[in-house]
Amino acid sequence: MDKIVIAAAKGRLAEEGIRLLDLSGIKFPDYSKKSRKLVFKSEDGNIELVMVKPGDVPVYVERGTCDVGIVGKDVLMENRANLYEILDLGFGKCRMITAATKDISLNRGKKLRVATKYPKMAKDYFNSKGEMIDIIKLNGSVELAPVMGLSDIIVDIVETGKTLKENGLYIVDTICDLSARLVVNKVSFKTKTETIEKIVKSVEAILGKEREINIENN
């Protein structure tokens, strides 16, 4: 069997991903949420899981250092990595939105100041609207920018919108829905087809089952 290295985005996505893999028969006995280890081996030793920063997952997978990755769609869209985006894992659901403190009229002839952690996405979105913008790249707590008068609007991801509300922002528009994805290096997919297909299929089966259960519960 081919050796497979999986890169998982540290944090909630990795936890959920490991749970899914566990259910599909790929178990990492060393793993626990509290563990500080960054590399875990599967029971049979054929699969290795490494924890990396979310933004680094596409880098590891695109360059082939890792064969498979578990990462949010937001990271993929921002990085535009050249890899296969095989599965929507269904968890880590959230939305990419624009938000502001007050009414924003677009196309008002003045450049809009946009604060965001996702400059590429922000640029693409406002370009498609024909809006001229200046981007202010921030590294966190983007909600603060319009409150403090640093920007007119923000582009960010939200799950419930609670943080926005509490800071007096409201959602102007939804750019797209996001969730965790299973990505695969293009060459690995071709050279280790069987092994990777096996992993994908068993994860897919579990996802299908969970979806059914969800529908029943609803």
Partner: protein
């Protein structure tokens, strides 16, 4: 302050002598394969007009080219690709409908690559272009030559993926959507985004039959026969039918070379289909995450320069290949060494130089220096034997064994010429 004079820019590098030797060896293996198939080496200029690369529907984006301005204010670019200049060159031969032009090259390509922090901005590519033959035999030959190149470098664990640009182009004809949407669909298929392809097809205003084909597009990969079998039920028009037939024919040629075990098919290989008109090739090595070979048929390119001539070809990224081979432990890292260092005192220089010449004529690598510098040669690991030329007999010291013996010039030369041992890797 950063002192730039001691640094080199990101994306380029020095090639040290041991690496250079490895590279030369690999390039020479590859060139040997190309020559054996009747390809002739050519070279195009390092820089050309920007317009040349803008005109052709190319695989290279504007922002990937290094631009220069000449004395007339014209924009030039460092060779971002070699197929386009070769197409220009081929067109300069006039209409070659009844002729065939078979070219090979091994040269450096320059590309600005902003996305990846450590990819090369200058890399060596070696490849072939077969101009004036539109048959599957030419495509099959290109693929076989690529396989021979890998084999000539002792690589056996590799895979060539075959695609067909016209299959997707045929499909697009059945869908009435604008260019932006085609781009999006193409992108999703190219990324094997099974779920989102389905989502898009559901929204399209096309028949269920067409939807089914769109949904299946990303699944059309793997074993050639399996894919052909799946694809035959998905054909919607003549163009798709012809493209599939053509791909089967190319596969048939590769089978005649007995290379089918190295080949798989992926009809979702569509990232550069504005440029490719027929079969597409991609070459991968096992456990190396980047493609090392790519190519395909580009029948429309030469016509941009005035003559409608079909063409097909492929290029191997030599630097990626070497990097992969290093990982696979296929690189023999022995660098060449000097057979003899002849050290003399000034009085005997003429004699030392004369002996050196005789040794070099025998194909040996010989260095000469003043005897005061003996220490240098004793320390250097790339010197095999040290010969001291002074008033007495020659003194020959074999560094590896530590043996030393004295002899006359004739005895020494005789011994060298009779020795069957290969002294060094030249």
């Amino acid at each position: 302050m950063v002192r730039l004079e001691n640094l080199i820019p990101q994306g380029v590098q020095d090639t040290h002598s041991n690496v250079y030797e490895v590279k030369e060896k690999i390039i020479s293996n590859i060139k040997q394969v190309f020559k054996a198939f009747g390809y002739r080496q050519i070279l195009t200029p390092t820089f050309e007009y920007y317009d040349l690369f803008l005109k052709a529907k190319r695989t290279i984006r504007k922002d990937e080219m290094f631009k220069l301005i000449d004395e007339k204010g014209e924009i030039l670019v460092l060779r971002p690709d070699i197929t386009t200049p070769i197409a220009r060159l081929a067109a300069s031969y006039g209409n070659q409908k009844d002729n065939r032009l078979k070219f090979f090259y091994s040269t450096n390509i320059f590309r600005i690559n902003r996305e990846n922090n450590c990819s090369r901005k200058e890399f060596t590519q070696a490849g072939i272009e077969y101009i004036g033959n539109n048959s599957e035999d030419a495509d099959g030959e290109i693929c076989a030559a690529a396989i021979d190149c890998f084999l000539s470098c002792s690589i056996t664990d590799f895979k060539i993926d075959l695609g067909q640009a016209a299959f997707f182009k045929g499909l697009v004809k059945e869908i009435n959507i604008d260019n932006e949407e085609i781009k999006m669909l193409k992108n999703l298929i190219e990324h094997k985004n099974f779920a989102e392809v389905k989502e898009i097809s559901r929204k399209l205003n096309v028949s269920e039959k067409v939807k089914n084909v769109i949904d299946k597009m990303p699944y059309l990969y793997g074993d050639a026969c399996k894919v052909f079998d799946m694809a035959k039920d998905l054909v919607l028009n003549k163009e798709m039918e012809d493209s599939l037939l053509n791909l089967k024919k190319v596969y048939g040629v590769i089978k005649d070379y007995s290379y089918e075990s190295h080949v798989s098919v992926d009809l979702g290989l569509i990232n550069h289909i504005d440029y490719y008109t027929g079969v597409i090739f991609k070459g991968y090595l096992n456990n190396y995450g980047k493609e090392v070979m790519s190519g395909g048929r580009y029948d429309d390119l030469v016509s941009e320069y005035g003559h409608e001539i079909p063409a097909t070809g492929m290029g191997i990224n030599v630097d990626e290949l070497i990097e992969a081979m290093e990982l696979m432990d296929l690189i023999d890292n022995k660098s060449s060494s000097t057979d003899f260092a002849l050290l003399y005192n000034e009085k005997h220089r003429k004699e030392a130089v004369r002996i050196s010449k005789k040794l070099r004529d025998q194909g040996k690598i010989v260095e000469t220096d003043k005897i005061e510098n003996t220490e240098k040669y004793l320390k250097a690991s790339d010197i095999i034997e040290i010969v001291t030329v002074n008033d007495e007999l020659l003194s020959v010291f074999d560094k590896k064994s530590g043996n030393e013996y004295k002899c006359t010039e004739d005895q020494f030369l005789n011994k060298v010429s009779n020795s069957k041992e290969i002294f060094s890797i030249h």
